[in-house]
Amino acid sequence: MTASIIYSVLLLTSLGIIAAIILYVVSKKFYVYEDPLITEVEEILPAANCAGCGSPGCRSFAEKLVSTEDISDLFCPVGGNDVMKSIANLLGKEVTKKDPTVAVLLCQGSCDMRPKTTQFQGPDSCAISALVFSGETDCQYGCLGKGDCVDACLFDAMYMDKDTGLPVIITDKCTSCGACVEACPKNIIEMRPKNKRDLKIYVGCMNEDKGGIAKRACAVACIGCSKCFDICPKDAITMENNLAYIDAQLCTLCRKCVDVCPTHSIVETNFPPRKKKPVSTITKGKKIDPPSKEKHIDKKVKAIVEPLKSNNDA
């Protein structure tokens, strides 16, 4: 009885020792050296694995950061400048500061602005729809409204607005990884600089058709009239293929172009409500049409309604 217990204990112990020796030898023989910095860098990175940096995941980006000498071209859009700075401190390398960007949708063709003329019955995918035809409306440059960008967003920063049929970008959540830009078959999502208060002015249209055709297809299309181009004091606006484009680097956010645009295709976001022009006191008694921006004001900054009233009362 005791003999069998001793045998089994001895057998198992010796087996354990043999296995331990084999494992030790193998781990020494096949040891792969890995820079411990890689793991450290990976821990700093946001671990979103969004591929916004160009590498397939955070681990491979960390490897790239450690192995390359000059990392000033590399940038993690999700972590931003803070993360890049701490990585630079850790690695003792230089990084350049980059302005944060945010995705914007260059199309305002909501259902009531851009009437549907056809219907797509195929699968719910922009890419497949784009393969078959130019879209359900007469504008062949605008949003297809099937939500490929929303599916591509890993950060829950986009949703489809059912009333307008357009995707909405939640600026606070957007990490500017660029997945939506890749996913959009119409190339209507652009990365634009994001300043502190998230003030932006951009042409919300990609329609390159001539004015009349563009206007017929969509009420808020850029008709290429060049009014904004003429008024811009900083030459930030370029006209190409019947379409205006505002260079965000040159733009000083003076909003002159927003006022002159006859189709309201220039979008301004998060600006404080405008002061009422003194015109109303001069033309007293006459009924003045409200400023042409009414639609935008109603939709975006509701607060403007109150000051207007109090002004009139006074």
């Binding site: 003329t117 056809t118 195929g122 699968p123 497949i128 078959v132 035809f133 130019s134 062949q140």
Partner: protein, 444 residues
């Protein structure tokens, strides 16, 4: 026992309601919209200007490269616009708009010329005429014919196949052409056989066109070079690869051409266009179009000038029915819905099919039940359910290994799927992605 291809295939309702209607000739349309990319390959280059007067058959857009084709004015008139309009691709494409001069009698030229049987030109001249007169494959693929006929010396061709199958439901354009212009088509075949030094030709016709088969058999009674073969009624027999397999039992290699097995396939419409180009110097400016649909009052076959807006043809058959939901350019299986009724007829338009609200309804897609119906019917021996899943999951390389690129897009899988899954939509999408990926790879 009739000949056919062994693998897959379906038999949709034929609905050939216009089979007994002779091809009518229409008055020249008031305005034609001639797209500059009516063929596979590089778009042509416009060589006319605004307000320029053009005569019928004048070159208005020059071939843009080797795989490209000349485009000729289908009418005599004035160029009014050079602008972008919706064409059958669903996108706005560059078009030449010509207002027809209604008084110009030359618009009625080239019509019903007497049969001319003797071939006077040399081989080189014939091929040159086919290149110059913008002949493209009229079966639907619109591949420039001169490219197909320019055979490299190391290839040996021993058989010419004439595709008169017309397996698409509803369409009868080729059928009527074979009945009305049979002798001309035979001369066209002789011309091609002479130009390519081939001494064997087979006309393949599906057995639902018995009168066309009898007609050709009668005419070729004393001709042992040209044979007529009746084929079983099965879709997609009109596809090149399936037709070669059915008639000669030769398997075209994957991603290869019929040329690789010593065969050249041409549609009957193309043969007739070649006949007219060679014997009467007529450029490709018109074609037979079937305008049909269950709700259409008077469905018919027409000789249509290239560039005629679809609405003109629909007005000709009794107007657009009220419950119309979809208008297809082509047949119900491979045709593509058009964006609006101003879309012009192009070289590849073999039919205009009007579909009512009821027929157009696409049923709700449900889960795959693994019945493998799609695998049974695929004429290329693919697994459509798998290809769709791989494309949906973005596994393009795996899809490429499953030979997604050999798909001929016949739509049999989507037709039979009991779960109404959009199989072909996804396969087509996967093919396009793989194509762009390969182009990107080549550039690198």
């Amino acid at each position: 026992m009739l000949k056919t291809f062994p693998k897959g295939g379906i038999h949709p309702h034929e609905n050939k309601i216009t089979a007994s209607k002779p091809i009518k000739r229409l008055n020249p349309p008031k305005v034609v919209y001639v797209p500059i990319s009516q063929h596979i390959g590089i778009p042509s280059e416009i060589i006319v200007e605004r307000k320029e007067k053009v005569t019928i058959g004048q070159i208005i857009a020059k071939s843009g490269g080797y795989v490209s084709s000349n485009i000729h004015s289908p009418v005599a008139g004035t160029v009014t616009k050079l602008d972008k309009f919706f064409d059958s691709s669903g996108y706005k494409k560059q078009c030449i708009v010509i207002r027809t001069d209604q008084k110009d009698q030359s618009n009625f030229e080239f019509i019903d010329k007497p049969l001319k049987t003797d071939i006077q030109l040399s081989k080189k001249d014939i091929l040159q005429l086919i290149t110059d007169y913008g002949i493209v494959g009229l079966g639907g693929a619109t591949f420039p014919s001169h490219v197909k006929l320019n055979i490299k010396k190391d290839k040996h061709i021993d058989c010419l196949i004439i595709n008169g199958v017309e397996c698409e439901p509803y369409l009868t354009a080729d059928h009527r052409l074979m009945l009305e212009k049979a002798e001309e088509i035979l001369v066209g075949i002789e011309i091609l056989m002479f130009a390519l030094h081939i001494d064997k030709a087979i006309i393949g016709i599906e057995n639902n066109k018995k009168n066309a088969i009898a007609n050709f058999k009668e005419l070729t009674k004393n001709n042992d070079k040209i044979k007529v073969a009746a084929l079983e009624i099965k879709y997609p027999q009109g596809s090149e690869k399936q037709l070669v397999r059915a008639l000669l039992k030769r398997e075209v290699p994957k991603n290869g051409l019929p040329l690789d097995v010593g065969v050249i396939v041409h549609n009957v419409g193309t043969i007739f266009a070649i006949y007219e180009a060679v014997q009467y110097n007529k450029p490709l400016t018109e074609r037979v179009v079937t305008v049909t649909g269950k709700t259409i009052k008077d469905p018919s076959n027409f000789w249509v000038k290239i560039g005629t807006p679809v609405i003109d043809l629909i007005n000709e058959v009794g107007g657009l029915p009220e419950d119309t939901r979809k208008i297809l350019n082509g047949g119900p299986m491979m045709g593509k819905a058009i964006k609006n009724t101003d879309v012009p007829v192009a070289k590849g338009t073999s039919g205009i099919l009007v579909i009512s609200e009821e027929e157009a309804e696409r049923k709700k897609c449900t889960n795959c039940i693994r019945c493998s119906e799609c695998v049974f019917v695929c004429p290329m021996g693919l697994e459509p359910y798998l290809l769709m899943n791989l494309t949906e999951k973005k596994m393009y390389e795996a899809a490429l290994n499953e030979d997604i690129t050999t798909c001929i897009e016949c739509g049999s899988c989507s037709y039979v799927c009991p779960s109404h899954r959009p199989l072909l939509d996804y396969i087509r999408f996967g093919k396009s992605i793989i194509k762009t990926l390969e182009i990107a790879k080549d550039k690198k």
